[in-house]
């Protein structure tokens, strides 16, 4: 019940942005979702970032915080609301804590992944805005997001080796994550080819749906080692 109320409050604050146009509302939404994660960590006795509920809360929280610091506007508000809405319908129940997630590498892997997801989605929004209105520095966001995602793959690789003795299992999440990384790398390299340079914002716009597919679609459609 508490979880649903906090999620609703975060959605309400973010929706209020359309009326008040105050950036602090993004900050408040992000912090509120952060408080939700801290509350659940104490309640369960371990940060439960392996559940769909908590991973969405983390993603939304980081997205709102990034949107605040990057001075994003209504597009980001709307995207944030869409990202947070599932929290109202997903069960926050935790049956058991899988032993394999009891390692600091789990937090490093998940934390850097979700921060990079947030930056990828924001860079997509900035690129879309650049195409229809005025130029925004989406390549900078893409660069930072890409580096963070590289870090996430690095931590994930070490964790996979320690947990399963494998570095790159051929399973849906690993495969699509590596594809996302290659796609982001390609987007960053388009600027170096004079005939492909103009495609950079279009490729960047494509990143947001790709991120959502890699994050939500792959787990629900294909399963694999990333589904606990």
């Amino acid at each position: 019940m508490v979880e649903k109320l906090i999620s609703l409050a975060a959605i309400f604050l973010s929706t209020s942005y359309f009326v008040w146009q105050v950036r602090a509302l993004h900050l408040l939404s992000g912090l509120l979702l952060g408080v939700l994660l801290v509350y659940r960590s104490f309640k369960i006795g371990y940060p439960p970032l392996f559940t769909p509920f908590d991973s969405i809360a983390l993603f939304s929280s980081l997205f709102f915080l990034s949107a605040y610091f990057l001075k994003a506007g209504r597009f980001a508000s709307l995207t944030g609301v869409i990202l947070t809405l599932p929290l109202l319908f997903i069960s926050p129940e935790v049956r058991e804590i899988p032993p394999v997630v009891k390692t600091p590498l789990f937090f490093l892997h998940v934390g850097t992944a979700f921060l990079s997801y947030s930056l990828f989605v924001l860079s997509s929004l900035f690129a879309l805005y650049s195409l229809v209105r005025k130029e925004l520095p989406f390549v900078k966001l893409l660069l930072v997001g890409h580096y963070l995602f590289t870090l996430s793959l690095f931590f994930g690789g070490i964790w996979a080796y320690l947990a399963w003795g494998d570095i790159f299992p051929l399973e849906p999440k690993t495969f699509f994550s590596l594809f996302l990384w290659l796609f982001a790398s390609l987007t960053l390299h388009l600027r170096f080819d004079s005939s492909l340079r103009r495609l950079t914002p279009y490729f960047t716009v494509t990143l947001a749906p790709l991120v959502l597919f890699v994050y939500l679609g792959v787990n629900y459609l294909f399963g694999g080692t990333h589904g606990f």
Partner: protein, 229 residues
């Protein structure tokens, strides 16, 4: 289209997606990379083709990255070289390594490739199960403990606790043994150097990008992001 071409990189990325997705679809489940060489002869011809093409696309991406690195300056050269090496080592690791999958009950052992691997005892704790094991070869024994996320590393190989098989009336503890190989350490060293050099490379790219944006702003160009660095 030269080997440094961005179009070739796009083509290889597409090939990676196409062959990876096909292989995943045909495999119908998780394929652990270390098991692929052992299972390869039993795969269907289409799956064999898909996996070979996937391997080749990644290999070409690695070679292209290394080739491009040669034309770059210090930090960019280091970042791209370590990245290319890391991808290459990821590909080499399953091909050059030998693993054994087996199960044990407490107090039992198994003979594998001239080695004796034994499970001495199992002790549960709030952080999961801890299993005391030893590996013996030519009368020399190395004892240690293995648990989830914490393999037992010895001179005779690395041992992982994979889980509990509840298929029979007596639950069996499943393990994986990797023969001694320097590749994982080399790979993690190369990956560490990639992320370290990547940090400086990203910072210098951000600086350059900022300079381009300011320069474009002064020149009145509306498309600062689309300028070549």
């Amino acid at each position: 289209m030269g080997f440094r071409s961005v179009k070739l990189f796009a083509l290889l990325t597409f090939a990676f997606f196409l062959f990876g997705f096909t292989s995943l679809f045909l495999a119908g489940g998780i394929l652990h990379s270390l098991e692929i060489p052992r299972l390869f002869p039993h795969f269907s011809p289409f799956l064999k083709l898909g996996i070979l093409a996937l391997f080749l696309s990644l290999l070409l991406i690695s070679l292209q990255t290394f080739y491009c690195a040669l034309f770059n300056r210090f930090i960019s050269l280091l970042f791209h070289s370590f990245l290319a090496l890391s991808i290459l080592l990821v590909l080499l690791f399953p091909i050059t390594s030998k693993t054994f999958d087996f199960y044990l009950y407490p107090g039992t052992f198994v003979e594998l490739g001239g080695k004796r691997v034994a499970l001495k005892e199992v002790s549960p704790s709030d952080r999961g199960l801890h299993l005391k094991v030893f590996i013996e070869k030519n009368g020399k024994r190395e004892e240690g403990e293995v648990s989830f996320n914490s393999p037992f590393e010895s001179d005779f190989g690395t041992l992982w606790f994979s889980g509990i098989d509840r298929g029979s009336s007596y639950p069996a503890f499943t393990f994986k043994l990797l023969e001694p190989t320097p590749l994982p350490r080399l790979l993690f060293l190369s990956a560490l150097l990639t992320v370290l050099s990547g940090l400086f490379y990203t910072l210098s790219s951000l600086k350059r990008e900022g300079r381009n944006v300011h320069q474009a702003g002064r020149e009145g160009a509306p498309e600062a992001n689309r300028r070549a660095p």
